[in-house]
């Protein structure tokens, strides 16, 4: 499936023209709309600008999306014919690492790795929280963006859920850190190598090859999901980097991201981690809870980490096989 060549394909660059009414042809022709990528995410009341626009023009054609639609979304947009396309989702990102099946041996030298390229506010919170918790190791964590000193307050001003003021303390104010980027020298994630579908499989594998040592040398991969500060789960290929390198991961994603991956994709979560953070709606509270949960593991020795890793081997192997056997796709298809 070459997504780009499908009629009515709407990538990120066409979101605004669509909302501005500049893509009337797409609405009026006989083909379904194909909404590629995260379409800007969903707000606390589960509103989305594109779906709001399509509702306002009484769009009654099928709308294919990468989002798995649960009853909450169906009830929010009862007049739209929104459909989850497993094929679209799979080809957009999930399938691209199936050619990668040999990884370096697990050999712990570090606690945590996290890769943060584009600087949306979710990633700014993540890296600045990691730094404050003392878990941002520049040899294993990247941030390709800078933050302004008021990044936190600007975000909190507009946030739709109540935020405890004291959580501000858990995000760094260190101006040297905020002003700096941390990239991996020659191994820098290539800015030109987008991982999304238009650039295809070889690119994705190439990027993983650049990161695989960091993944297998770290006890945990903190996955920095797209638009993690939004309110409805959107699952990209990022967690698969750990699945295919047989590593432990935990994701800063939207609320219920982990339960979504279990239910709709069929992957298993690890039983050494407490996922109670997953249901917290406020992204700041969710992140602090997540960082606090993993911080206790940072105190352990390499031997302890290895013991814990070994205790999770069944789950790691299940996820590895679940991915490479394509069973995840069958699970996804059952929710189309």
């Amino acid at each position: 499936m070459n997504i780009e060549q499908l009629p009515n394909y709407i990538p990120y660059s066409k979101y605004k023209p669509l909302i501005n009414g500049e893509l009337k042809d797409y609405i009026n022709n006989k083909h379904p709309l194909i909404l590629f990528d995260e379409i800007g995410g969903f707000e606390y009341d589960l509103s989305n600008d594109i779906f709001d626009y399509l509702t306002s023009i009484n769009c009654n054609k099928p709308i294919l999306t990468e989002y798995i639609i649960d009853d909450r979304l169906r009830n929010k947009y009862p007049n739209l014919d929104i459909r989850f396309s497993a094929e679209l989702k799979n080809n957009a990102d999930l399938v691209h690492t199936t050619n990668y099946n040999i990884h370096p041996e697990i050999n712990y030298k570090n606690f945590l790795c996290s890769f943060n390229r584009t600087g949306h506010i979710g990633r700014q919170l993540l890296v600045n929280g990691l730094h404050k918790f003392g878990m941002f190791n520049p040899d294993y964590c990247s941030k390709s963006f800078t933050s302004t000193p008021n990044y936190f307050d600007s975000f909190v001003e507009n946030i739709e859920v109540e935020t405890n003021d004291f959580n501000r303390k858990f995000f760094t104010d260190d101006i040297n850190f905020l002003n700096n980027t941390f990239i991996f020298g020659d191994d820098q994630w290539d800015e030109n190598l987008e991982v999304r579908a238009p650039l295809g499989t070889p690119m994705m594998v190439k990027n993983i090859e650049k990161l695989e040592k960091r993944l297998t040398e770290s006890f945990i991969h903190l996955v920095s999901e797209t638009n993690s500060y939004k309110y409805y789960p959107f699952v990209t290929e990022k967690f698969l980097m750990s699945v295919i390198t047989r590593g432990l991961f935990v994701t800063f994603g939207q609320p219920d991201w982990h339960s979504h991956v279990i239910k709709y994709f069929g992957f298993k979560m690890f039983d050494i981690f407490d996922y109670s953070f997953d249901g917290i709606q406020n992204p700041i509270h969710r992140l602090v809870s997540l960082l606090s949960m993993i911080q206790k593991f940072s105190l352990l020795s390499n031997d302890d980490w290895n013991d814990l890793y070994q205790s999770q081997i069944d789950i790691i192997e299940f996820n590895y096989d679940h991915y490479f056997s394509g069973k995840y796709y069958e699970v996804m298809c059952s929710y189309e």
Binding site: G134, N164, F166, S292, Q295, K296, L299, D307, L308, S311
Partner: protein, 331 residues
């Protein structure tokens, strides 16, 4: 007849039976309650068909009292308060709050709860000699054996949770004392159960509390399953300091409901409902640990944000409002 912890064994072995024709005043924690809500001393009195009035320091809920409905159990504020809660009443002044340290915790007798507590504090690198005490030696086998004994933990959970307790032999074998007080003996000025001892304790430890962001009170028989209150948390209240208690499950729920004290907004008390004492102490210390990344300046900000609750608790204690609150639940 007054029975404190030194006579528990005698009581159960029937050594005290000649004096059994009178009211019984059972002081202290009675060895705690097990996970089924049973207490060995009360069980032994049931077997003996003891019919006289029994005063307890426990404020027992109706379901537990139903278990022991054949005993004439009573809780009175006067009995409870006179034994330990009034101990800080004369301590109306305290040193100025002046943070130099993150956490203090005083651990005298070596019940299993305290062994777990100091061991995890060391593993989390927040046991600071000079601000934390441990008057006992530990063998790590004892802690790991204890963790292995739980039926309500899977093998995998045991493997994970035992990682959070230190195996540092030097720490385990060393005693860390904070003052010249020998806690096992009465002081010149009185029994260690008395007010005088308490005042001496305050005079030795109050600076540690006011110089620390949080005072981690190490409750008696924290490994038990029913809330028991001693004077320990009041050291935080009377020093206008933030405190947190490693106590039995629902300790904080009881503190709010029956004593009328307030919790702080900055702490997450979800550990309070965890029944397993190992998991509870790990989650409590982990919750606290995130604050250890903050600067003293930031910690002071957080302290100020809790001023209303701190003042409320201080006044609640010294005004005797807590006694009036508690009185509603006498039985």
């Amino acid at each position: 007849m007054y029975v404190d912890s030194s006579y528990y064994e005698d009581l159960m072995l029937d050594e005290l039976s000649p004096r059994f024709n009178t009211e019984l005043n059972l002081s202290d924690h009675l060895g705690g309650f097990d996970s089924s809500g049973r207490n060995k001393i009360l069980d032994s009195l049931l077997v003996k068909e003891f019919k006289h009035h029994i005063n307890l320091e426990y404020l027992l809920t109706e379901d537990i009292r139903e278990t022991y409905k054949d005993l004439d159990l009573h809780f009175s504020v006067e009995f409870k308060s006179n034994l330990d809660l009034i101990r800080y009443k004369e301590h109306t002044t305290h040193p100025e709050i002046d943070f130099k340290n993150f956490l203090c915790s005083f651990n005298r007798s070596h019940n299993m709860g305290r062994q777990l507590l100091v061991s995890i504090l060391n593993k989390f690198k927040i046991f600071k000699p000079g601000y934390c005490s441990k008057f006992f030696e530990i063998t790590d086998n004892r802690i790991f054996g204890y963790i292995q004994s739980f039926d309500d933990m899977s093998d995998k959970e045991k493997l994970v949770y035992e990682k959070f307790f230190t195996t540092d032999d030097t720490f385990l074998k060393t005693k860390y004392e904070l003052s010249n007080i020998d806690p096992s003996k009465p002081t010149e000025s009185g029994s260690w159960l008395g007010k005088d001892y308490c005042m001496e304790l305050i005079n030795n430890f109050q600076n540690k509390v006011t110089e620390s962001f949080v005072y981690l009170a190490s409750e008696s028989v924290a490994e038990g399953y029913y809330p028991f209150f001693t004077e320990k948390f009041l050291l935080g209240v009377a020093s206008r300091s933030l405190f947190i208690t490693y106590g039995q499950p629902q300790w904080y729920a009881h503190l709010e409901k029956y004593f009328g004290f307030r919790k702080y907004d900055i702490f997450d008390y979800s550990f309070d409902s965890i029944r397993n004492p190992v998991i509870r102490v790990v989650e409590l210390v982990n919750m606290l640990n995130k604050f250890s990344n903050l600067s003293l300046f930031e910690l002071h900000d957080l302290y100020l944000s809790e001023m209303d609750n701190i003042e409320f608790n201080y006044n609640h204690y010294f005004s005797d409002d807590y006694e009036r609150h508690l009185k509603m639940y006498e039985y």
